[in-house]
């Protein structure tokens, strides 16, 4: 309960995360990769829709809330602002669960990667595995529930790095524009990807 002082909720027991992974794997065996993809998207959208809306007067006020874990966008992850609109997540919120899965159960089921490939082809090319579909869809839906200076937010994923180092970066057609809006260069992106799990953009609509 101590971490509530910092705004972020207490850590989950990784066993619940592992059980959820197995739950999703079982689901995939019934509905296939496309069905699982739809399920994950709907899951993340429902989660965001169940969380309270937020409003802030200024961008600085919002960034402060984000940094302190008081925003729904930082409830589950440790978010840092690199520039006014470029945000990074230091550690994936799924890392503990995945590590425990690898330690106690074995190799991550292939379906988690297969569904990410499906998502990358159909939606955006920034997911390494199923967990990123949840996280990125959640951020997208949650950002629309936040107003800064009366305007809702727009979220874009710039790049993702998984625990094993595998990366997914937004396609070249979008990357230049995203980096410009985020206020970082390609070299800076490379630097950020060394020690962060996600690099993302957040700006008013």
């Amino acid at each position: 309960m101590d971490s509530l002082e910092h705004g972020r909720v207490i850590d989950s027991n990784p066993f619940v995360d592992i059980a959820t992974h197995l739950f999703l794997e079982d689901l995939a065996s019934k509905v296939g990769v496309a069905g699982l993809n739809n399920y994950l998207i709907s899951l993340a959208n429902n989660l965001a829709a169940n969380m309270p809306e937020e409003e802030y007067e200024t961008w600085d006020e919002f960034l402060e809330a984000l940094k302190n874990g008081h925003s729904i966008l930082s409830s589950f992850e440790d978010v840092h602002a690199v520039t006014k609109h470029c945000l990074v997540t230091r550690r994936s919120p799924f890392e503990r669960g995945w590590r425990e899965y690898a330690k106690r159960v074995g190799a991550f089921s292939k379906v988690h990667k297969e569904v990410a490939e499906y998502y990358n082809a159909k939606v955006k090319s920034t997911a390494v595995n199923s967990l990123h579909i949840i996280l990125q869809t959640f951020r997208d839906a949650a950002s629309k529930r936040i107003k800064v200076g009366g305007k809702p937010l727009r979220y874009e994923q710039i790049a993702t790095v998984w625990v094993d180092g595998e990366r997914k970066v937004a396609g070249d057609d979008r990357l230049t524009g995203l980096l410009k809006k985020a206020g970082i260069s390609r070299i800076r992106l490379g630097m950020l990807l060394r020690n962060n799990a996600d690099v993302w953009l957040l700006a008013p609509e």
Partner: protein, 205 residues
Amino acid sequence: MLDVALVSLIEDLIEKAGADGVIEFWQRVGENLANRIGKEAYMGWTSFNVAVREGRTAYSIEGDVTPLTDLAITDVDGDVVGYLYAMKQCCYYPTAMRVRYTVGRLSAADAAVAREYNENFHNIAWCNFCVFHERFREEVAKNIAVAGNPLECLLLATRGFDGETRISAKGLSKININPEHVRALLRNYECVYALLMRGARLKEG
């Protein structure tokens, strides 16, 4: 965040398959997880209990488990055939708190699954995760051999974070342990279970 998203998943599944469908789903997932973890063998109870303390058994995936070595289960000849084990904190407690501090309150779907399970299977669950957890433990027990004997697991008692306790009369009568002993344990633990050698000749309760 996967655990908090799981709550939305349960809500969705209950709409599609009903509470009984969720129970079936969870039980299958519990079996699958136990079987993926695989088999273990120990020389005797001492080595098994040391492994439990050191977090080396399949049960260690749950979190910290305390072997209550002062509460041995004996057979008709007075030989030790098992022990009681307990967890100070329910695996789902952090998730319940995380839901409380992100979404607002635990979904009614969670209680609906537990109620269905209590009425039709075993009156021991305080949350939907107990359904998965009980089956998982039962299946893991089959995969662990102590002194050449596979184990059996009996979930004996639970205490929810709201203070409500459930004690399994069925389980306690099987191992001939006074419910008051277990009630006293619930002051310090949230989940108590027994592991004993499958097929042991126990005294009539």
